[in-house]
C-alpha cells in the first residue's frame, strides 16, 4: 500500500503539529523543555483528561454525555460534605463519590435507552439538575473546615490528610498522584476499548446499532454501561478536584465539561482515527495543556485561553471530518 501525502498528513499531521509547537515554545522560552514544565502540563490537564476519557466511552457507543462537568462538581461537593460535615474517612468518601457517579450514569442510561430521550438532551437535563442539587445540602454555601451550617451549628469534621494527599502529594517527589491516576485510568480504558470483547462491541454499537443488535449484542445494557463509565470517571475527577482544592467550592469545575469534551473530540484527529479513542483523548488533553503552558510562559494573558482552546477544537474537527471524509470516498 502506498502512502500518499494526504494519508501521511491525516495519520501524523497532528503529531507533527504537536512537535512543531513544542519546538516553537522551546525556541521562544527554553524553560519550556524542562521536567518541571512537563509535570506541570500533565498536572494541569489530569482532571480534564480523566473526564475526557470517561466521555470517550459514551462517544464510542455513539452517545454523548454533557453531565460530566456537573457530576464532577457534585462529586467534589459530596466528598467535602462527607468529610467536613459527617466526618467520614478517605475510603468511605471515595467509595461514596464513585457510587454517586455510577448512579448518575445509570440514570442517564435509563433515560436515554428506555425513555428514548436523545442523549444530548437527556444529559443536558441531568447536568442542569445536578448543578442545582449540589447547592441544596449547604444552602448554596461552599464547604470548608469549621463552616457554619444552615442550622446555625459549626461543622466539626475536616478533610482527612490522606484524602488531601490524593490532590497534593507526589510520587517520588516528582509525579503528582492525580497524574498517576490519570495515566492508570487512561491505560485501563485504552485496554478495555481496544483489546476486550466488551470494548469491541461498544465500537460496533457506535458504528451500526441495528447490526450489532442483530449480531446478538445486548445493546441497551452496553449503552447504559457506557454512561456509567462516563459518570464514574467524572466522579473520580471530582474527588481529585476536592483533594486538590481542599474545600467544596461551589464555583469550581465550571470549565470541566467543555475542556473534557474538547479533549475527546480533538482525540478524533490523532493518528487519523476519525473516531473516539482513548489514546487520542489523552493526547488531545495533553496538547491543549501544552499549548496553554507555552502561551502562559510567553506571557499570553489568561483570558485568551478559552479562545485558544476553541480554535484548536475547530481546527481538529475540520481536520478529522473534512480530510478523512474526502479520503474515504
Amino acid at each position: 500500500m502506498t502512502l500518499t501525502v494526504r494519508d501521511l498528513s491525516i495519520r501524523y499531521g497532528f503529531f507533527a503539529l504537536l512537535i512543531g509547537l513544542a519546538l516553537f515554545f522551546y525556541a521562544a522560552e527554553p524553560a519550556f523543555m524542562s521536567v518541571r514544565s512537563f509535570v506541570f502540563v500533565f498536572q494541569s490537564v489530569a482532571i480534564t483528561a480523566i473526564l475526557a476519557l470517561g466521555v470517550t466511552g459514551t462517544l464510542v457507543v455513539g452517545g454523548f454525555d454533557l453531565s460530566i462537568g456537573s457530576v464532577a462538581a457534585s462529586s467534589m461537593m459530596a466528598a467535602s460534605y462527607a468529610m467536613v460535615i459527617w466526618g467520614w474517612g478517605t475510603v468511605e468518601t471515595v467509595m461514596l463519590c464513585v457510587a454517586f457517579g455510577l448512579f448518575v450514569g445509570f440514570i442517564n442510561g435509563l433515560i436515554i435507552v428506555y425513555g428514548r430521550v436523545p442523549d444530548l438532551l437527556a444529559t443536558l437535563g441531568t447536568m442542569f439538575l445536578l448543578l442545582g442539587l449540589q447547592l441544596v445540602p449547604t444552602a448554596g454555601r461552599s464547604i470548608a473546615k469549621g463552616m457554619i451550617l444552615p442550622d446555625g451549628s459549626t461543622a466539626t469534621g475536616s478533610f482527612d490528610p490522606s484524602f488531601l494527599m490524593l490532590g497534593r502529594s507526589r510520587l517520588f517527589d516528582i509525579v503528582p498522584v492525580s497524574v498517576v491516576v490519570m495515566l492508570a485510568l487512561a491505560v485501563a480504558i485504552f485496554v478495555f476499548l481496544e483489546f476486550t470483547r466488551w470494548g469491541r462491541v461498544m465500537y460496533a454499537i457506535g458504528s451500526n446499532e441495528q447490526a450489532s443488535r442483530l449480531a446478538g449484542a445486548p445493546v441497551n445494557r452496553y449503552k447504559i454501561a457506557a454512561y456509567m463509565i462516563s459518570g464514574g470517571f467524572a466522579a473520580i475527577g471530582g474527588i481529585l478536584l476536592a483533594a486538590r482544592v481542599g474545600r467544596g467550592d461551589v464555583s469550581s469545575g465550571n470549565n470541566l465539561l467543555l475542556d473534557g469534551v474538547a479533549a475527546a473530540l480533538i482525540g478524533f484527529a490523532v493518528l487519523g482515527a476519525a473516531k473516539p479513542n482513548a489514546f487520542g483523548t489523552l493526547v488531545g488533553a495533553l496538547f491543549v495543556g501544552m499549548l496553554l503552558q507555552g502561551l502562559t510562559m510567553m506571557n499570553a494573558p489568561y483570558y485568551t485561553q478559552d479562545a485558544v482552546k476553541g480554535a484548536v477544537l475547530v481546527l481538529a474537527l475540520l481536520f478529522t471530518f473534512a480530510m478523512t471524509r474526502r479520503a474515504g470516498s
Binding site: R197, G206, L214, G216
Partner: protein
C-alpha cells in the same frame, strides 16, 4: 379500461429513451426505454433492486441521469432539481409518505408547500389566502381534509392524500406514484384507486410503480416490467399477469444445477403459527441437511417470519420447537445461544459494521468464543477470517480491508461467512443474493450447500430462480401465511408455484397457464 389500445405517438407525454445510470462500478439502469401516454395508467413492475427507485429519482430531478434522453410533452426534459420537474409538469408521490409531507405543519401549509418553497406565494404568509388556495386544491379531488390540523395528527392514508393533492396542485401532466398502497388498508387503497381513475379520465398520464397484484389487476392499462436495470417485458390488454410476474422475477427460471441435500430429522417446526392476528395460521417443519427456500412477493411476511424465529419479533400466535423442545427466544442473543443464526436482509443497515475490517465484521456475534477472560485472541480472529475469505472466495487485499473497499457481492459474502463461521442448528438467510452479481451468488450458493449437511437452512428470496437454484424445497408465502410447498428438481411444477406467488385469483387460471409455461 378505456385506453387499452396502443396509444398514438403524439399522445405520449413522458418519453424515456436509453436511460443509463451507474453508481461507481454498479450499473443500475442499463438503457431503459419507457413512455407514458395521456389518460393511461402504466404500471411499472420490478422486484427489489431492479432499479425502480433510481428511475423515479431521475425523472423527479433528485439524481442526474447517466446517459439517455428524457422528453416531456415533446420538449427535452432535464430536471436538475425536483422543483424543475414540478414546473415542467411532472409530480411525484414518493413511497415514503413521510418524505412528502412536513409533519409539524398544517394540512393547509402542506398542500401549499411547493408554492411556499418556490416563492410563488410571495414574501408574506396570509393565513386566509392560504386557506382559500388549499380549499381549491383539495377540491380538485373533491376531498374534505381537516385543513387546520397538523399533518402528524392525521392518519397515514390521509397524509398520503395530502401528498397526492399537493402533487396535483400544480396541475401536472404526469403523475408518478411510487408504491402508493404499500402502507394502506384495503379500504384506503380502494379510495386511492378511485382517485387514480378520476385522474386518468381527466387525461393525466400516470406512472404507477408497484409489485402488488391487486393494484395491478385493478388499475393497469399497460404493464412494463423492470428487472436488473432493463425492461424485460411489455404487456398490453388482454393483460397476462402470469407472464408479467415471470418477466419481473426472472426469465431464466430453470431447474437447479446443484446436487441436492438429504433430509434427516426435523430440526425446527411451527404449529398453528400466526404472524399477524389477521393472517391464516400455518404449520411447517424444517429438516437437517436440507436447504429450504421461502419465496413470495415483497411484503408478504417472509422477513417477519425470520425475525420471529430469530427472537427480534413476536408472532401473534402459535409456538415454535427447536430439536423437539419448545423454543421462544426473547432476544437475538438468546437465539444465537440456541444455535439459530440469521443473516438479515439489507446488509448495509442490518449486518455490516462500517467502522470494522473484514475480520472484525466476521467475528462480531462470536466474540465470547473468540476471547479469553474478555481479551480477544486477535491472532485466532485473523486466522479464521483468512479461512472464511478462502472458503467463500472473497476478493480483497487482506482480512484487514474495510467494508467500504469491498464490492456489494463481497460484502454479502462477509455477511454469509460470518454466520457460517460457527456451526448452527438452524441458519436463516434473508435475501442472501440481494444486490449480488452472478458469480458471487454462485460462490455463496456453493458454500451454503457444502456446509448444509449438519443443520437446517432456511433462505428467504423474492426471486424464484434463486430459490430454484439453491434450494431442495420451496415454500411459497402469500398474505403472511404459507400457501405452497414444492420439491425442486425435474418434477417441480413451476406454473403452480408462480400462480401461488402471484396470488389466488391467478391460481384460478391455472389450466391455461400450465399449458404455456413449462415447455
Amino acid at each position: 379500461m378505456q385506453t387499452g389500445q396502443a396509444a398514438p405517438a403524439n399522445n405520449r407525454v413522458l418519453e424515456i429513451a436509453g436511460l443509463e445510470k451507474s453508481f461507481g462500478p454498479n450499473r443500475v439502469l442499463k438503457g431503459v426505454d419507457l413512455s407514458v401516454s395521456a389518460g393511461e395508467v402504466l404500471v411499472l413492475m420490478g422486484a427489489n433492486g431492479a432499479g425502480k427507485s433510481t428511475l423515479v429519482k431521475i425523472i423527479a430531478g433528485v439524481q442526474p441521469p447517466g446517459d439517455g434522453r428524457l422528453t416531456l410533452d415533446g420538449a427535452p426534459f432535464e430536471p436538475d432539481r425536483p422543483i424543475d420537474a414540478l414546473n415542467a409538469g411532472l409530480s411525484v408521490v414518493h413511497q415514503q409518505i413521510n418524505d412528502s409531507v412536513a409533519p409539524d405543519l398544517s394540512v393547509t401549509q402542506n398542500l401549499l408547500l411547493d408554492r411556499l418553497c418556490s416563492g410563488k406565494a410571495g414574501s408574506f404568509y396570509s393565513p386566509r389566502r392560504a386557506r382559500r388556495e388549499a380549499a381549491e386544491i383539495q377540491a380538485i379531488l373533491g376531498l374534505s381534509l381537516p385543513l387546520d390540523r397538523a399533518v402528524r395528527d392525521i392518519p397515514l392514508a390521509d397524509r398520503q392524500l395530502v401528498a397526492i393533492c399537493r402533487a396535483l396542485a400544480e396541475n401536472p401532466k404526469v403523475l408518478v406514484l411510487d408504491e402508493p398502497t404499500s402502507s394502506l388498508s384495503q379500504r384506503e387503497a380502494e379510495r386511492l384507486f378511485g382517485i387514480v381513475e378520476t385522474l386518468r379520465s381527466r387525461g393525466v398520464a400516470i406512472l404507477y410503480i408497484t409489485h402488488r397484484m391487486s393494484d395491478i389487476r385493478r388499475l393497469a392499462d399497460r404493464i412494463v416490467t423492470l428487472r436488473d436495470g432493463r425492461i424485460t417485458g411489455e404487456f398490453r390488454p388482454p393483460l397476462d399477469y402470469e407472464a408479467a410476474v415471470t418477466a419481473m422475477l426472472g426469465e431464466t427460471v430453470r431447474p437447479a444445477a446443484m446436487e441436492r441435500g438429504e433430509a434427516h430429522a426435523t430440526v425446527f417446526s411451527v404449529e398453528n403459527y400466526q404472524l399477524k392476528s389477521w393472517s391464516r395460521p400455518f404449520s411447517m417443519a424444517l429438516q437437517a441437511g436440507e436447504v429450504t427456500a421461502i419465496t413470495g412477493l415483497v411484503g408478504t411476511g417472509k422477513s417477519e417470519f425470520a425475525e420471529a424465529i430469530f427472537g427480534v419479533r413476536r408472532p401473534a400466535a402459535g409456538e415454535m420447537r427447536l430439536n423437539g423442545q419448545p423454543y421462544a427466544p426473547k432476544t437475538s442473543g438468546a437465539a444465537i445461544e440456541a444455535g439459530v443464526f440469521m443473516a438479515a436482509k439489507d446488509r448495509g443497515t442490518n449486518s455490516l459494521i462500517p467502522a470494522f475490517d473484514i475480520a472484525r465484521n466476521l467475528s462480531l456475534p462470536f466474540l465470547t468464543r473468540r476471547s479469553r477472560a474478555g481479551f480477544i485472541d486477535s491472532g485466532a480472529e485473523r486466522h479464521r477470517a483468512k479461512r472464511t475469505i478462502a472458503d467463500l472466495s472473497i476478493v480483497c487485499q487482506s482480512e484487514t480491508d474495510h467494508m467500504a473497499t469491498l464490492s456489494g457481492g463481497n460484502q454479502q459474502k462477509v455477511v454469509v461467512g460470518r454466520w457460517l463461521s460457527e456451526p448452527s442448528t438452524l441458519l436463516i438467510l434473508d435475501e442472501p443474493f440481494q444486490g449480488v452479481d452472478i458469480r458471487a451468488r454462485h460462490d455463496i450458493g456453493r458454500r451454503l450447500r457444502e456446509t448444509a449437511a449438519d443443520r437446517a437452512t432456511l433462505i428467504l428470496v423474492t426471486e424464484i430462480d434463486e430459490a430454484v437454484e439453491v434450494a431442495d424445497r420451496i415454500l411459497v408465502m402469500s398474505d403472511h401465511t404459507i400457501v405452497g410447498d414444492h420439491r425442486t428438481g425435474p418434477e417441480l411444477d413451476l406454473s403452480l408455484l408462480l400462480a401461488q406467488v402471484a396470488g389466488d385469483q391467478t391460481a384460478e387460471n391455472m389450466p391455461k397457464v400450465q399449458e404455456s409455461a413449462v415447455g
